[in-house]
């Protein structure tokens, strides 16, 4: 009797897990298909944006605008200033006070990872 019962429970469990897995696969498949549709929609939107962007901002149009605004080649030294967001406060104040340039990498490390790679002598400055 016990053997039979164990056998029935065992068969039930196997069937249960089999069906559970089967249903899971179908659920995942539906999800995957939904994601594929979302992905396709995004690709279509991206392509549409790209198409309209280039229709309005082609190289020829940029050049025509530059000519209209009388832009010309710079004959002298060019200095590009990039406004890249806030940098470590303490270090920045110190560097300004002491006329030291903020190392490019150091400020980025601080901004994104919130830790400084500035040499110890400077890192200690409040």
């Amino acid at each position: 009797m016990v053997k039979k019962l164990i056998c029935i429970v065992f068969l039930f469990l196997i069937s249960f897990f089999y069906l559970h897995q089967k249903i899971n696969i179908y659920v995942e498949a539906y999800k995957l298909d939904d994601n594929r549709k979302i992905y396709n929609d995004l690709v279509h939107t991206l392509d549409d944006i790209r198409y309209h962007f280039y229709k309005r901002v082609s190289l020829s149009k940029i050049n025509l605008w530059l000519e209209k605004q009388n832009f010309d080649f710079a004959k002298e030294k060019i200095v590009l200033v990039l406004n890249k967001g806030s940098s470590p406060r303490g270090y920045d104040d110190y560097s300004k006070k002491n006329n030291i340039e903020t190392p490019f990498l150091a400020s980025y490390f601080f901004r994104f990872f919130n830790f400084s790679i500035v040499p110890k002598t400077l890192a200690g400055v409040p």
Partner: protein, 565 residues
């Protein structure tokens, strides 16, 4: 008696049921064995669906990574005319949005079919507008369309594709195998309400073709095309071509023809406009070909630079014709013959070299051969075999008549003068980048044909042509400019002689500053009013050269990053 009849009934029933079972067994055997394949296919068709996914073509970039060609997703509209309820209303709405002819569309919808194309390749926003109309019987199929973001820019080099995205012109044709993506099909299962579900693990990305990076700079190309168009319009010319080339590597930085076309609409462009004239058409170059005579005479060493040549005061009888100079000259030095572009002087110099030597020299400089540029339809030009030379030929071929060359061949000639005597292989593709970082760099090919001593002397004379000779309008202060002007009469095939009105004005030369050096070849076909190469083509050369050097020189010297205040 009664039991006997019951037994008979039993047998009868057994017989009937046996027959039924036998029938069933036969049917099962028929379905399971004889119709197995058909039914299996039928079931697969009902339960599974193959969604074709088109492989994207590779993208094309210029040398600085500016996008020149890419595939974008678009949609093709189709209709099932039988399902459309109000055809007149549907036609009116669709024709308005899609810009179609109402009558033609109605004719399509009145056909006894269950599928007709309404319009191929429309954009997403138009699709959304149509969807919002909720017209029954209208559907969409996803498609890919080749898109050239820069419009007409570089059209003759890029070429174009047909409706099936196969290359039909230019780079699209030449590198079709590399650019073409691999199509694949996605297997999906359909549930009871026809929802598509992906059950088997599959790679959802089709294989995109390889990306191509060009040697061409779109900014330089823009200048070339816009200045060329200005010049052609200014002189009411038939057309023109310009090539800008790096003389040491053979990299083509710009290649422009006028008239041009928009590759986005290549299917509706006349074939005439699609031709890349700079490489497919050969013409009699006129005086620019005197550079060959100059190199040949320097190489043979017959003349020193200051040898005097009598130029017959502008009129010289040769076998079968009379040669004229554009201005009468008496005695000119060897250098001045080329500086002042004297036809008579050049004819006398070439005659002294001997026709066999001169013919072999033309061949040595690879005229009459394709340059091997990676573009389709290149012409090899036309060089008459020595045995076909007439008595006039040795006098007029050295000044660029009775010989056919392409603009690209002229660019290669000037490149060999500038680079110390090497014949380079011109090319427009720098590298091909495939999936997973695979990169193929295009190998440079060059062969030494003339010693650098000779080319240096030729180069000096070409600089003097611009400083003091016929090419003065190409002169740029602060830069070393050298070149040769050319004004060739065109042959009139109807009259059977050279035309008095139709000319080709050309200027081939180079510009140098410090380590920067470029070859620029300009040719204008049939300019009106003024037809001199030194007046029509040289100023165009100057405008391009000036911008080219400024552009290449304009480097950002210093970058300072400041925090946001």
């Amino acid at each position: 008696m009664k039991s006997k009849s019951i037994k008979l009934n039993e047998y009868f029933l057994i017989f009937i049921f046996s027959l039924l079972f036998l029938g069933l067994i036969f049917r099962i055997v028929h379905l399971q064995i004889f119709k197995r394949e058909f039914l299996q296919k039928f079931a697969l068709k009902q339960h599974y669906k193959l969604i074709p996914i088109k492989g994207e073509r590779g993208r094309i970039f210029d040398t600085r990574g500016r996008l020149l060609a890419t595939d974008i997703s678009v949609f093709s509209v189709y209709a099932d005319p039988r399902s459309i309820e109000n055809k007149v209303r549907a036609v009116k709405l669709l024709a308005d949005i899609l810009g179609l002819n109402e009558k033609e569309l109605l004719d399509k919808f009145n056909k006894e079919r269950d599928f007709v194309w309404v319009k191929r390749k429309i954009t997403l926003d138009i699709k959304k507008r149509i969807e919002s109309l909720h017209i029954k019987g209208i559907g969409f199929i996803e498609d890919k369309m080749r898109f050239y973001p820069q419009g007409e820019l570089l059209s003759h080099v890029l070429g174009g594709v047909n409706i099936d995205n196969d290359g039909i012109e230019g780079l699209e044709l030449f590198y079709d195998t590399e650019l073409k993506g691999k199509d694949f099909s996605l297997l999906v299962r359909r549930d009871s309400v026809s929802n598509e579900i992906i059950l088997s693990p599959q790679d959802l990305q089709s294989q995109r073709g390889k990306d191509i990076f060009l040697t061409i700079d779109a900014q330089i190309q823009y200048w070339v095309e816009s200045y060329l168009a200005q010049t052609v319009k200014e002189y009411s010319a038939k057309g023109g071509s310009v090539i800008v080339m790096q003389p040491f590597t053979g990299e083509i930085l710009a290649l422009g023809n006028y008239p041009t076309y928009d590759p986005n609409y290549i299917s509706s462009t006349p074939l005439e406009l699609r031709r890349n004239l700079a490489i497919t058409d050969f013409f009699e170059p006129g005086s620019v070909f005197k550079v060959v005579t100059l190199m040949a005479s320097l190489d043979k060493g017959f003349f020193s630079l200051n040898d005097k040549i009598f130029c017959e005061n502008g009129k010289y009888k040769i076998p079968g014709s009379i040669l004229h100079d554009w201005k009468p000259y008496g005695h000119l030095s060897f250098k001045d013959v080329f500086k002042k572009s004297s036809n008579i002087g050049v004819a006398k110099i070439a005659n002294a070299l001997g026709k066999e030597y001169f013919y072999n020299y033309i061949r040595k400089l690879c005229f009459g051969e394709k340059t091997g540029v990676d573009l389709p339809g290149e012409s090899s030009g036309m060089v008459k075999d020595l045995k076909n030379w007439s008595k006039t030929s040795p006098y007029i071929i050295p000044m660029g008549q009775e010989i056919g060359v392409t603009v690209l061949q002229l660019a290669r000639l000037i490149a060999s003068v500038v680079n110390g005597g090497y014949i380079v292989k011109p090319h427009v593709v720098k590298r091909i980048v495939g999936d997973k970082g695979f990169t193929k760099e295009i190998q440079l090919e060059s062969e030494e044909i003339v010693s650098s001593k000779i080319t240096n002397r030729a180069k000096e004379i070409l600089v003097e042509v611009v400083e003091e000779g016929t090419g003065k309008l190409a002169k740029i202060d602060g830069l070393t400019v050298g070149g040769k002007t050319g004004t060739a009469q065109k042959f009139d095939f109807q009259l059977g002689r050279y035309s008095e009105d139709a000319h080709r004005a050309s200027f081939v030369g180079f510009v140098e500053k410090d380590s920067l050096c470029f070859v620029i070849c300009v040719t204008i076909d049939e300019p009106q009013n003024v037809h001199l190469g030194g007046v029509v083509a040289a100023p165009l050369f100057k405008k391009i050269a000036q911008n080219l050097i400024d552009y290449q020189n304009a480097v950002v010297k210093e970058v300072v990053s400041l925090p946001l205040q």
